[in-house]
């Protein structure tokens, strides 16, 4: 299992198939259940709902205030229903925010999709709380010593998303254009949003 055997493990495959067969026979799974529950994550690979909410917040101060104070209502406006546990943390010139789950891998699926593998691995989870600046530097993000780093460790059922700073040079862009600029990593807090390069 695990890191020493990254490829298909026939033992694991057999166990999964055995379990699946038992759940199918008992009607706990239908033949199409797996396809149905993974469909939205396989389809919804971007632009993400979270990116859209951030883009709208950049353009609309009222929406931004709502997203920061009552994300439940704000998310409905970008098509995410019934997600009442998200807290959005705004990056500023003096504060950079970063999201982690040290105890497992909690992550805001409805707004960001399924987490990347690195988010779920001990290397990120262990280091994000004790040396966030070193971790961010590995992602290419140097945070100046005067800027505070706030790490949000998702230890309860609350979930966190970062609102990155709008980059200079994107004034006048539409919500659609801004949404496309915002990578998932900026919403976790390990990247910034960059203006499109001038060609």
């Amino acid at each position: 299992m695990g890191k020493n055997h990254p490829n298909v493990d026939p033992y694991v495959v057999s166990r999964v198939r055995a379990l699946e067969s038992l759940l199918l026979e008992q009607g706990i799974l239908a033949p199409d259940t797996v396809d149905r529950v993974v469909a939205r994550y396989e389809a919804d690979t971007g632009p993400l709902a979270g990116a859209r909410a951030v883009a709208r917040a950049w353009l609309n101060p009222d929406y931004k205030a709502l997203l920061l104070s009552d994300s439940h209502q704000a998310l409905k406006a970008v098509g995410v229903e019934s997600y009442d546990v998200l807290r959005v943390k705004e990056n500023t010139p003096t504060v950079h925010n970063l999201v982690v789950c040290t105890l497992c891998s909690c992550y805001p699926w409805p707004v960001l999709g399924l987490p990347p593998t690195w988010y779920k691995m001990p290397a990120y989870r262990s280091r994000a709380v004790i040396e966030p600046r070193a971790v961010l530097a590995e992602f290419g993000l140097e945070i100046g010593p005067e800027r505070e780093v706030r790490v949000w460790d998702s230890s309860a059922e609350l979930r966190y998303m970062v609102m990155p700073q709008q980059p200079a040079g994107t004034e006048g862009m539409t919500e659609e254009q801004l949404t496309a600029l915002i990578p998932r990593d900026a919403l976790i807090g390990v990247a910034e949003v960059r203006a499109p390069a001038l060609v």
């Binding site: 706990i28 799974l29 040290t102 004790i130």
Partner: protein, 223 residues
Amino acid sequence: MNGSHDVGGMHGFGPVTIDPDEPLFREPWERTVFGMIRATLPRFYNIDEFRHAIERMGNIDYLDSTYYEHWLACLEILLVEKGVVAAGELDRRARLSAAGVLTVTALAAQAAVTVSHPGGISYWREGTEPRFAVGDAVRARNLHPPGHTRLPRYARGKRGTIAAVHGVMVFPDSNAHGQGEQSQAVYSVRFESAELWGESADGRGAVYLDVWDSYLNPAGEQP
């Protein structure tokens, strides 16, 4: 439980390894495991039992296996404990599957199994007034329960400040062990990096944890 899952502040796991091209699932079996968890949680077990089952894998297996292997271990542990599948039958079928002779028959009558939406499970509860208010100085208790807990080791005994009062939520330490929801206030607590890590802190900053009421004392009291 002071287990290998509680990695906050550990050294020795190496650099963060990023695969920019990774697929949503690396193997078809990961996809199946994802679907099986979604079809059985919370029908047969709750989220806290799910997390604690992974913690119960054992420290070496936990670290030496992948995310979806954790989920598979959880399914095997909980569906057997809850009586949904029999351990012997699971083993028998795994052997048949390994030999390529497992016949799978879906129950014909149930084309439409409905699966709860993850956002559809609410952990908010009604409850009493919170004990602490925003700005209060608190200290995380020095707890080391052998069972499930969501107070990571790195915060225990440390002083913090209430940054927000989230509301009342189900208490994992009881809910993971069939001891009811014992719902209580949950706070966002700000712990300064220097308080958590002393001179090893890597600069200005803080960690915000979501902390249940019974994990906390007023700051003046000993942990």
